[in-house]
């Protein structure tokens, strides 16, 4: 097994037991509960509004994952790749093993990605299935789910790499990350023209069709989408660049523990 693979195995096992994973796993299931509640309401005919499963999925569930959970998972898992070793003072255990420094980043990135992807995909799929239980045989609906999962996965990998880089570079990476997520990403997307292309969210949303206009749609913005292939290539390219930058930073930087 490669050095990165060994690091991946160790930290995937550790990650499964962490409080962070338990918290985010519960959070990722929140839309499933909402979906189940909606279905229950409909079954009991308590709801006066006729909301379809797909409508609720597109306007509530998907925005929750794209605009909130995806960013939070990437932020906390990504920055912790280096920061938890520094703040927890466990870095010496890794530094004194025969492991290239890049393999530590790649292995930990892989284990964080695996855990976060599992949470996103399980939550999204479960919500979708609960909301569209009667139409499971509809291939076009299944493709919607697969497309959305692929887009979320791509976005997660990209954000995770970005925050891995920030975590390797900065002590207060979480603070910068929060500003980035809820400042830069959420504001820039409303800018017209080329400006919105400076946000990662632009490329993600370019891959997800805009939901039908509605009174409580969360995902309304003046998107001037990039072509799908361009969006995918940009996301993959950014992932590679950020991951490379994280590896390079971790290989060159000295980490001091605060006394």
């Amino acid at each position: 097994m490669s050095a990165a693979g060994r690091v991946y195995t160790f930290f995937f096992q550790l990650g499964q037991k962490s409080k962070r994973t338990k918290f985010f796993f519960i959070l990722s299931l929140l839309p499933v509960l909402l979906a189940a509640f909606l279905r229950l309401q409909q079954a009991l005919t308590l709801s006066r509004r006729n909301i379809t499963g797909l409508f609720f999925y597109s306007n509530v569930v998907l925005p929750f994952y794209v605009q909130f959970l995806l960013l939070m998972l990437a932020l906390f898992y990504g920055t912790s790749i280096v920061l938890e070793e520094v703040e927890g003072r466990t870095l010496p255990y890794l530094a004194a093993r025969p492991l290239p420094r890049t393999s530590i980043i790649l292995g930990k990135y892989g284990s964080s990605a695996a855990l976060a992807l599992a949470m996103i995909d399980v939550g999204l799929a479960a919500s979708f299935l609960v909301l569209n239980a009667e139409q499971l045989g509809d291939l076009s609906l299944d493709l919607v789910l697969l497309r959305d999962m692929a887009v979320l996965d791509l976005g997660l990998l990209c954000y995770l790499a970005l925050f891995a880089f920030l975590g390797a570079l900065l002590k207060r990476a979480v603070l910068f990350g929060l500003l980035f997520c809820f400042g830069w990403e959420n504001v820039l997307i409303y800018f017209p023209g080329l400006t919105q292309k400076l946000a990662i969210a632009h490329y993600l949303k370019s891959l997800i069709p805009q939901p039908p206009s509605s009174g409580f749609a969360f995902l309304r913005f003046n998107l001037e989408p990039s072509p799908p292939l361009t969006a995918v290539l940009v996301l993959l390219g950014l992932t590679a660049v950020f991951l490379g930058a994280a590896c390079l930073t971790f290989s060159l930087k000295e980490y001091l523990f605060e006394n």
């Binding site: 195995t9 160790f10 004194a96 093993r97 492991l99 290239p100 420094r101």
Partner: protein, 308 residues
Amino acid sequence: MKAAIQTDKLSKWYGNILGLSEVSLEVRPGITGLLGPNGAGKSTLMKILTGQLRPSLGRALIWGEKIWNNFRLFNRIGYCPEHDSFYEQTTGWQFLTGLLRLFPFSPAEAAGRAERALATVELLSDKDRLIRGYSRGMRQRLKVAQALAHDPDLLILDEPLNGLDPLGKRRIIRLIKDLKNDNKTVLLSSHVLPEVEALTRDIILIHQGKILASGDIHELRDLIDSHPHIIALRCDRPRELAARLVREPFILKVQLGGQPDSLIVETDNRDRFFSLLPELVMDMGLAVDEITSPDDNLQAVFDYLVGK
């Protein structure tokens, strides 16, 4: 024997703060104690030797190779960090086997090595407990176990006896002494002088980032010419011996001790004193029960060198 560790004018700055200043030393197989007060630069030196920090100036080599980003070296190095930090959500067994798998060892080999290491530090019966439930002494022993589980040729132990109870200290001291018999190189740091004294006579004194002295404790002691050596004797006629000794120019002070048969002598020339003493014993027909040198310990040397 060839030195395992070599540093040449090694300096480390943290911004404007001096961590190490032109440290040149060699560490050969056996046990070497790195001794100095807190903040002396011991951990900085150890972090450079374990590839966590880069030298600002000078160089540090292990077996002739540079250390920074030279990950292959760590197949043969074991490091016990200073901080009481672990992956707390793991058990002792998971922690140790997990770290061994990073080397890489197969699952079976990692399990075998972990079992031996845990048995060595007497933690085998607690291996399935979560580390967060371990006592301070158990945690310290687990740190030592992870440092030696892969059977390294060089062990770098940063304050390995810190936080241990007397029994725990005895266990670890015995363990480290056994490593010397296996022809390993052990560099350990401490700010507690008797701990180092119990382990080795080869010491490096470090203070404010500088090496004050290094070598055998006796050789170090002899370097300090102007500092009086204190020698305690127990014999049948201490008063007669005292009267004879005060005639010698190299005897600075003679004091009758607390016990009726004891005598404390201060001299600025230990060699002359020890060549004279047998003659006096023969000429005067003295029965000497004990000769000790209470001043000849690390504390005295260290206090003197740092100007206390």
